[in-house]
């Protein structure tokens, strides 16, 4: 029974008779690939257009409805050498892109305003010495007002809205003093201009907005890029399920997970990854739950028993009834724990917000004191007010507003290049505080896909024959063996269900399968005790017996990374749901003293709570369904990209690839970033320490304000750029 694929979820209809689909394309690197794909598709009948976006590795295809099928398009792309995956443009990604455009529009408007106002302001500044008449100066100021007021009204909204939101919740964030400073600067300038005064602050207000908007637009852009890559990875996982429709004449249809509803019947063939949670309706099989529970030994399942998404069906075909929620199962336990963990997650206050809480009252009190001070010393109330407002303008936290986001952007893009995608905005700061690292074993310290541990023990002829036998079988272990040997030769084999495969080559009998099938009963116990955590495949050629050890190998650099982290003073623990022996073996290899095996999700959380009560900041690295609550409960968490969906959704960051090095890199970069953030905050404080006395004394002119603000902003930004080069040494 071959399942047809249903693409209707992915196809949209931009016009009448036109269908369109977004695809993620693998392996597009340059303009050559781009034109190969576009030409290759456009030469097909019925295709109206194809456009590759090289930056996001996505492709949009449009075709005349009915003239071709999405399946053919995918097949054609496969032929061209670019496997593609349909992609449902999720709403979140669209929102990110819209927000970025909005910020860029604001930036464009404010940049236009700033350039023209500067043109006028510089004329006034230089004219003040050259003896320009008051009338000309006033005209220039009114012109500046004419440009600045609408520009700020439009481009300042991101800040004003955020400030109002914060104030409504009774909190203070950095946008409150920013908004206040900008608005006061404009009001004061208009009043001053009306009174024919010499000084106006239109330029400062607009310049401030431009610097801050540039920072925000970059931040947003980095965030969108990260989301895009995460979206592509999700699409490439191509999570589909085979749905069985109709009661009598059964029809199987391959549909994306999103289209599966509770109560649907789904088919899982041997060797397939089960993609939904459900109850077995019919069939018996063994299921490898290692990615879900960490337990490496396969679990037998029979009708009435639950199976989970992310597990691998090993031996028999299963029919599974999808369910939304039932009680008393692993998934429920995980969900209940998750709800609690998310609720309890200590509300971390970001560095920038903490600085704002400290800064805003301080600045406002200073301004008030300045006003009262000048009033007491006999200056008129109007003149005193002008000086006080100048203090507010000059302390308007331009550098402070950039101090943290600038570092954030640079560090996030440095992580991005090293294969770490940050999910949450404050993950960087929380990562920097970590002093204890807790690893899950299966899929985190070990590779998510098992491999063959003893390939080197066999001669090449044996390997070729075993590979050929293995590639003829559908059994999951055979598939792993076939993939590891990757031989091209094929054999005509006979498959003995549940036992193995047999073939004859040059009169010699070849067998691949269980110990009894290969007459290796006397060999089996010794091998099994040598490899406690592995599955074995036996191979018999003529009278000789050999065996292949299928086990979950450590990530290639796991030992090195763990040793490094320990040397840097991190306390390291392993918490696993697997049995004691395999966990102890891995802990021994990595020389990790603290480990616990056989833990349920609640057990992992209990351990994290104990660490937390000791005042530790814990980084949890895990990938399984059973890790999800722990990931949510930990101070900060990282998942490998192969993790189950639930785990990834609750991790603060995701790392790509087979190596563990990104975890160490993330910690290094985060520490460096935190240091730079603090440095930047001090730089901003230093700027204020110099500028504020000048303003309080009443000597701050618009020229001084403009120079001081741009100077400090540039300094802070340059300092942030140093986050790029962090930590190359250790690799």
């Amino acid at each position: 029974m071959i399942a047809a694929r249903d693409f209707s979820v992915f196809v949209s209809h931009p016009g009448k008779g036109v269908a369109s689909m977004d695809l993620v394309v693998e392996g597009v690197r340059c303009g050559g690939c781009m034109s190969a794909i576009e030409k290759g598709l456009k030469s097909q009948d019925g295709i109206r257009g194809a456009r590759v976006n090289l930056a996001s590795k996505r492709l949009t295809v449009e075709w005349d409805e009915g003239a071709t099928q999405p399946g053919f398009i995918l097949q054609r792309l496969d032929e061209l050498g670019f496997p593609a995956f349909p992609f449902a443009p999720e709403t979140a990604g669209g929102l990110e892109a819209n927000e970025e455009r909005r910020l860029l529009r604001c930036l464009g408007v404010v940049a236009f305003a700033m350039m023209n106002i500067m043109l006028l302001s510089v004329s006034v500044w230089s004219g003040a010495r050259a003896g320009v008449t008051g009338a000309t100066r006033d005209m220039f100021h009114w012109l500046s007002a004419l440009i600045a007021l609408p520009a700020v009204a439009y481009a300042g909204r991101p800040f004003f809205e955020s400030a109002v939101r914060a104030l409504r919740q009774g909190a203070v964030n950095m946008d409150v003093p920013i908004s206040l400073g900008v608005l006061l600067a404009l009001i004061l300038s208009v009043v001053q201009t009306a009174q024919h005064a010499e000084e106006a602050y239109f330029d400062s207000a607009v310049m401030l907005l431009m610097f801050l908007l540039a920072g925000r637009a970059l931040d947003q852009r980095m965030r969108r890029k990260t989301r895009e890559v995460a979206g592509n990875l999700a699409a490439m996982k191509a999570e589909t399920a085979t749905r069985i429709c109709g009661d009598e004449d059964e029809e199987a249809l391959e549909v994306p997970i999103a289209a599966i509803r509770a109560g649907d019947l789904v088919l899982a063939r041997p060797g397939e990854r089960i993609s939904i949670d459900g109850i077995v309706e019919a069939g018996r099989s063994e299921v490898d739950q290692s990615l879900v529970t960490g337990e490496t030994a396969p679990i037998p399942v029979a009708p009435g028993q639950p199976v989970y998404a992310g597990t691998v069906n090993m031996t028999g075909t299963l029919r599974i009834k999808v369910r939304s929620a039932a009680s008393g199962t692993l998934l429920d336990e995980v969900n209940a724990l998750l709800a609690k963990a998310v609720e309890q997650r200590s509300s971390y206050v970001r560095l920038a917000d903490r600085a704002a809480r400290l800064y805003a009252p301080l600045v406002h009190v200073t301004a008030l004191a300045t006003f009262l001070g000048w009033l007491a010393s006999g200056l008129g109330w109007q003149a005193s007010l002008v000086v006080a407002i100048t203090v507010l303008i000059i302390t308007c936290p331009c550098a402070l507003g950039l101090a943290v986001p600038a570092v954030q952007v640079v560090a996030a893009s440095a992580m991005f290049r090293r294969g770490i995608l940050l999910n949450s905005g404050d993950a960087l700061e929380r990562l920097a505080n970590v002093d204890t690292i807790v690893f899950d074993k299966t899929g985190t310290l070990t590779l998510p896909q098992p491999g063959v541990a003893n390939l080197g023990d066999h001669d090449s002829r044996d390997l070729e024959l075993a590979g050929a036998l293995a590639s003829a079988s559908r059994h999951p272990l055979s598939r792993i063996l076939a993939a590891a040997i990757a031989t091209k030769s094929r054999l005509a084999v006979e498959e003995f269900s549940g036992e193995g495969v047999e073939a004859f080559v040059d009169g010699e009998r070849l067998r691949l399968g269980s110990a009894t099938f290969c007459k290796a009963e006397e060999l089996a116990p010794a091998v099994a005790s040598e490899w406690p955590d592995a599955s074995l495949i036996f191979f018999r050629r003529g009278e000789r017996t050999a065996y292949f050890v299928i086990s979950q190998a450590l990530r290639p650099d796991a030992r090195e990374v763990v040793r490094q982290l320990a040397a840097q003073g991190y306390a390291i623990e392993i918490l696993s749901g697997d049995r004691d022996a395999p966990v102890a073996a891995i802990a021994g290899k990595l020389s990790v003293m603290n480990f616990a095996a056989g833990l349920k999700p609640a057990g992992k959380i209990a351990r994290l709570e104990r660490l937390k009560s000791q005042g530790r900041c814990v980084l949890m690295v895990g990938d399984g369904l059973n890790d999800a609550p722990a990931l949510a409960a930990a101070h900060v968490s990282i998942s490998p990209v192969s993790a189950t969906h639930l785990a990834q959704a609750h991790a603060d960051a995701v790392f790509l690839g087979e190596r563990l090095a990104p975890v160490a890199a993330a910690l290094r970069l985060a520490r460096k970033a935190k240091r730079l953030m603090l440095q930047n905050l001090w730089l901003a404080v230093l700027y204020n320490a110099v500028a504020v006395p000048v303003a309080i004394a009443g000597h701050a002119t618009p020229l001084i304000a403009a120079l001081a603000m741009s100077g400090s902003s540039i300094l802070v930004t340059l300092n942030a750029l140093r986050a790029r080069a962090a930590g190359e040494v250790a690799s």
Binding site: C30, G31, M34, L54, R105, I147
Partner: protein
């Protein structure tokens, strides 16, 4: 100072043209694919295939 009556409007108008051009570019998706655009410029897809 009469020259100002000409120069200031010109300066403003030029800046405004720049702003309009930027907003148009943003709206029409010129910044959507910053990598691909460079390659498209040198692609010979307008030449007849030989």
């Amino acid at each position: 100072m009469n020259v100002l009556a000409i120069l200031v409007p010109i300066a403003l108008a030029l800046g405004f043209c720049g702003l309009i051009a930027f907003l148009w570019a943003l709206r029409s998706g010129q910044f959507d694919d910053l990598e691909g655009a460079g390659w498209r410029a040198i692609a010979d897809d307008d030449l007849p295939e030989s």
